[in-house]
Symmetry: C2
Subunit: 203 residues, 2 copies
DNA sequence: TTTTGACTAAAATATTAAAAAAGTCAGAAA
DNA sequence: TTTCTGACTTTTTTAATATTTTAGTCAAAA
């Protein structure tokens, strides 16, 4: 990694700190620049606009997330344990970076095509990784389902769906409290247990 | 049913028609009154305020929904078939009454305590009914899971979660198109298949 | 008991001015 | 040449206000 890239990463670090504390909408480029004791045009030297800085942040968070689940992944474990472990990692990240989600702020951040595409691609990567997990489990004879890519997609969407339900229950852009959060994790794990059993049985 | 109640139901009918077409937010009490060729105070004779008229609409829709799934429910069918049937009914209603969902309009309709309580109660009824479905399947020896109430809750939330994912994919308050809608239904059914198998297997 | 025209009070909307933030650029510093 | 900055312009948000629309009321009629 060259020096230039290092600086870029530092800016992303600074942005993340601000975003976590105040949310994307309430953070200005000036805030970030001041935190780093540089001028605003410096930021624009590394990022064409705020949107691309946000994309940098998103990429970083996902990258760290992928690193961690890959590091923790042990194909020798039973499938259920593997998935439980990823649920814990995912939810730790979810909690830590919750403020990034809050759409309040940038008007239509989620409607932006570039960001939508990026998120789509990252979701694709995650899907691929999970397809690999299910494939390995199939190779080990732990499950009997054919289309692992399809299964991975269904599984991930179900988990995310439960997560969204949890957020809606809490009430829009309120931070879900510890209790609601644990209930969500439990539900995700309960679904995982039934799901894994369902993949095991053929008939 | 007395004449008074009949009039009340007619008002709800009129409100539903408007709501379906323009959404709750864009519909005024005057609009509804004019459609029915009565004066606005007439509406207020039957409903203390707009909120209670909306509650009346919600109750009606859920009532019709429950009537239909109960009518279609045949305990002798395999569990999977029963659940498939309810998915179809649910999604038909979902599509028909989608405009009721669009929160755009009445600012914090979903944050209102009375409406929240009502929806909670109705969701509770649905949960109970599904717990009954799972209990019956258990009695028939089709599944082996103990806590049917818990299973019902998990199942329903997973389905709703997939639905929410579909809506988010389409993009906020845009009506999901036929294709996205069918994809959603398919996912819900695929999950159901795996879920039912998962309940069948003990280990 | 049910309905209404004419009313008030509250809320949504449109308008505008002021402030804040995004983004640019010529040129300095490394 | 690459990286950075002060001073600038343009675009967006925000705040303040006037205007319209809508919810909800009430005395009285059907």
């Amino acid at each position: 990694m060259i020096v230039a890239d290092k600086k870029r990463e530092q800016i992303i670090d600074g942005a993340i700190k601000r975003f976590i504390h105040f949310g994307i909408g309430k953070t200005t480029m000036n805030d970030i620049a001041e935190d780093l004791s540089v001028s605003k045009p410096s930021l624009y030297y590394y990022f064409p606009d705020k949107k691309h800085l946000i994309i940098g942040v998103i990429e970083r968070v996902f990258h760290d997330f992928f690193e961690l689940i890959k590091k923790k992944y042990n194909p020798d474990q039973p499938l259920e344990e593997i998935l439980f472990s990823t649920i814990d990692v995912r939810n730790t990240f979810f909690q830590k970076y919750y403020m990034l989600r809050i759409t309040e702020g940038i008007p239509d951040l989620l409607n932006d095509d570039v960001i939508k595409g990026k998120l789509q691609a990252l979701k694709g990567s995650e899907k691929e990784f999970f397809a690999e997990i299910f494939s390995q489990a199939k190779t080990k004879g732990e499950i009997e389902h054919e289309d692992t890519a399809h299964v991975a997609e269904l599984y991930l969407e179900s988990l995310m769906g439960l997560c969204t339900m949890c957020i809606m229950e809490t009430g829009k852009d309120l931070f879900p409290d510890k209790k609601a959060f644990n209930r969500m994790t439990l539900k995700q794990k309960n679904l995982t247990t039934i799901f894994v059993r369902g993949l095991r049985c053929t008939d």
